[in-house]
Amino acid sequence: MSVGAAPPSPSPATGAGPALELVRLTKVFAKPAAEGGVCVACDDVSLAVPAGEVVAVVGENGAGKSTLMNLAYGLYRPTSGSVRVGGRALELGSPRDAIAAGVGMVHQHFMLVGPLTIAENVALGAEPRRGLLFDRARAERAVAELSDKLGFGIDPRAPVASASVATQQRVEIVKVLYRGARVLILDEPTAALAPAEAEALLESVRALAAEGKSVVLISHKLREVLAVASRVAVMRRGRLVAERPAAETSAEELAGLMVGGAAAGPARVALGAAPPGREGGGAPSSGREGGGDVAAGRGAAVAGGGRGAAGAVAGGGRGAAGAGAGGGRGAPVVALRGATARNDRGVVALKGVDLELFAGEIVAVAGVDGNGQTELAEVLVGLRPLEGGTFERSEAARAREAVAHVPEDRQRRGLCLPLSVEENLVLGRHRAPGLVRQAAFDVVDAAARRELAARLIEALDVRPTDPGARAESLSGGNQQKIIVARELLAAPPLLPSSPPIALVVAVQPTRGLDLGAIANVHARLREARDAGAAVLVVSLDLDEVRALGDRIVVMAGGRVAAELPAGADEALVGRHMLAGEGAARA
């Protein structure tokens, strides 16, 4: 095989047709019957990527971007449609043919085998060999040469697990080029990178395109996309809803297309979404809505009413927010002083945090992922010990039931997937006096529990509504709703026997939710605030931070970089986010 040392293969002359062409791709996943039986993750999508160009595919989480690319790469077998490379149709269902045809993919979650060396990772599946022997020296040479050419500075002999995130990202790109790829698919390549690292990566992408390679860039970071792509395709709910030349569009227009014209939620009202051109009013094509996913078809009918209502609630809530922020801030509930803590890998992630949370206010924490927000939240809910500094709590916030925690990783920390929805709705509050007969061996009061579950399911619009369904059979968004319902609402007044909630710690509480649900969750958080709880919301989404926060705390490098008032200027927040750049990453 041609190992990267060779100059890039000559790109097809411009005008000889697109390097990569996706033709009417559709992918239907089987899902539990409770969910409607199927989920159309990708719906009749066509896209052409010319040689030497960067085409971006943007869309919200769950819009089908990753599914589309896994189809293009042959990892998933499409329900219908085809993939063409250089005019030739690929054999689908295995990446083998795609690789042979010169398609390479860098996955959002790195596809690296930790204990193997970088050279082994790069060569895997296309090993230079002598008979059965792995020609290690040749693989290492090839990696070193590619690395030098791109200025990556990779040591091919190092175990990949010991490399930094940025280096791992580079290894992924080398892996693809090593296979002689002419078409590169990059799935959220900057998601885990610090801004400076991301900038360097985008520079490499431009260089690759200049060499004649075609790049498909999947992202939801619009500025990044506009900076590097020549064209932008927008996906929403499994469909390609628009394609624009990068020069003729704006972040505002793209955002509007991503969230769907009329549906622009409270967080995005400012963006003034224009109605999408191609798909009027979001009406799905015939025959699909019945079986659609929550995020896809089914929403349509529900959405209209639900969304309107949610919007109204949100609006009202915001009005109250103003009042609350003005005069409602109460006594301190928790106070951290000089708090330091290590993360799971033993690296110091909090480096002296001072933070006070008061009853009746929402503190929104902004920051680039990995700057100590996760650890801060865990310290506040008592799941991570402090290494230094002090942590004081008011009397009311000491009972475990008085602390509501919407964890970052819902499947790891928030849910017992094999248990039922009802059982998950009481996790942590399951010994509340109203839910068990304390006089008799803590026997569960089944009727009380079922009634509470029914109310929680209704309040957050959990689908399906069957409290006996296994949590693992629900979509990610509905799983998130279970957690939010439990943490914020399985308390007085619905569960009078439980202590009132004094502290709410919510980490990315709306990740994976559709807009109606987002508005609902925001309203619940404001309700908790208005009921007198101290609320801390960690979010990676600046719009959410600015929409919710009565006070905005920016974290960078494991420290509080700034405390800003409600509605602080986006650019200002962004500047503070970059203050301690990468320091917490180590």
Binding site: L75, Y76, M111, L112, V113, P115, A126, L132, F134, R136
Partner: protein, 303 residues
């Protein structure tokens, strides 16, 4: 060759090979991500098939081949169920053990008309070198060869990758199913080979108790050896030495007198297992299995 030390060494060299080979079989399978708790059953069918084939053909080599084949055949069931059925591999392994237990007894009765020791006067013997059977040499060579193969060959590289991160391997066009099939069958072959040593080289008979827990010991040796071939070799040697030392001590206790009255046999027999527990709990620290060990591979799973 009659000093206690010499007989101890002889005992280790005799009894270690089945343990080493079976533990190695476990390593090969689990490094590819398929848990193999069925080593006991694989050794059992290997031992029985070896005895039967050697008896029927008069050739010990045919016996050896039959032992390997039986291990491969039974592990194919495990491979099919756990790779294509995405079954729980621990449960499937338990099933292998139960099936081997019942099937071999059933066949023993059907073929030899007994459920005790197979009524075979003399089994053909393998040639020996310096008084040791080929199994001894194999048991010392195979772990090093396997270690080398895992490190330096293309199939070895792919096997390690599949056991640690099958999705990564799959995205590069490596067939996870094919690699795992090969690994499980190779593991079955090694365990079957280990089992065949019992009738062909060590005890020169087949009795229905075989392998009497050796397969489970091999499993422990695999963990003790941290899922590496050479680690498995040394762990197996340690176990074999423990057993041999306990045996030597037992035979050194006089049959009468004060010491005999304490009945230390049981304590000596239990000691190697207690020692292993102590070592696993104290010394060795956390052993980390291959990251994808026991995880069925679903190519379309969202990761």
């Amino acid at each position: 060759m009659s000093s206690p030390l010499a007989s101890l060494a002889r005992s280790v060299l005799d009894f270690a090979p089945p343990l080493v080979l079976a533990a190695l079989g476990g390593v090969v399978s689990e490094r590819a991500g398929v848990v193999n708790i069925g080593l006991e059953g694989l050794m059992r069918v290997g031992a029985f098939a070896a005895c039967f084939a050697a008896y029927a053909t008069g050739s010990a080599w045919a016996g050896l081949a039959a032992g390997v084949a039986a291990g491969v055949a039974l592990s194919a069931v495990h491979a099919f169920v756990s790779i294509h059925g995405r079954a729980d591999q621990v449960v499937s392994g338990i099933a292998l053990n139960l099936i081997a237990l019942g099937l071999v007894t059933f066949l023993l009765e059907a073929v030899f008309g007994t459920t005790g020791t197979a009524p075979v006067d003399t089994l053909p013997e393998l040639p020996t070198l310096l008084g040791r059977s080929p199994y001894t040499y194999l048991a010392f060579a195979a772990p090093f060869a396997t270690e080398w193969a895992l490190r330096s060959t293309v199939p070895g590289l792919r096997l390690r990758a599949v056991g640690e991160h099958p999705h990564a391997a799959a995205t590069l066009g490596v067939s996870v199913a094919r690699v795992r099939w090969a690994a499980v069958l190779a593991g079955g072959a090694l365990a079957g080979l280990g089992g065949s040593a019992l009738p062909l080289a060590i005890l020169h008979r087949f009795d229905n108790k075989m392998p009497a827990g050796l397969g489970f010991m091999a499993l422990a040796a695999m963990v003790f050896g941290k899922w590496t071939p050479i680690g498995a070799l040394f762990a197996s040697l340690f176990f074999a030495f423990g057993n041999a030392a306990a045996d030597t001590l037992r035979s050194a206790i006089p049959r009468t007198g004060a010491l005999a009255a304490w009945h230390l046999d049981g304590i000596l027999l239990a000691a190697p297992y207690l020692l292993t527990l102590a070592l696993l709990g104290g010394f060795v620290g956390r052993a980390v299995p291959p990251a994808a060990d026991g995880v069925p591979f679903d190519p379309e799973a969202k990761h």
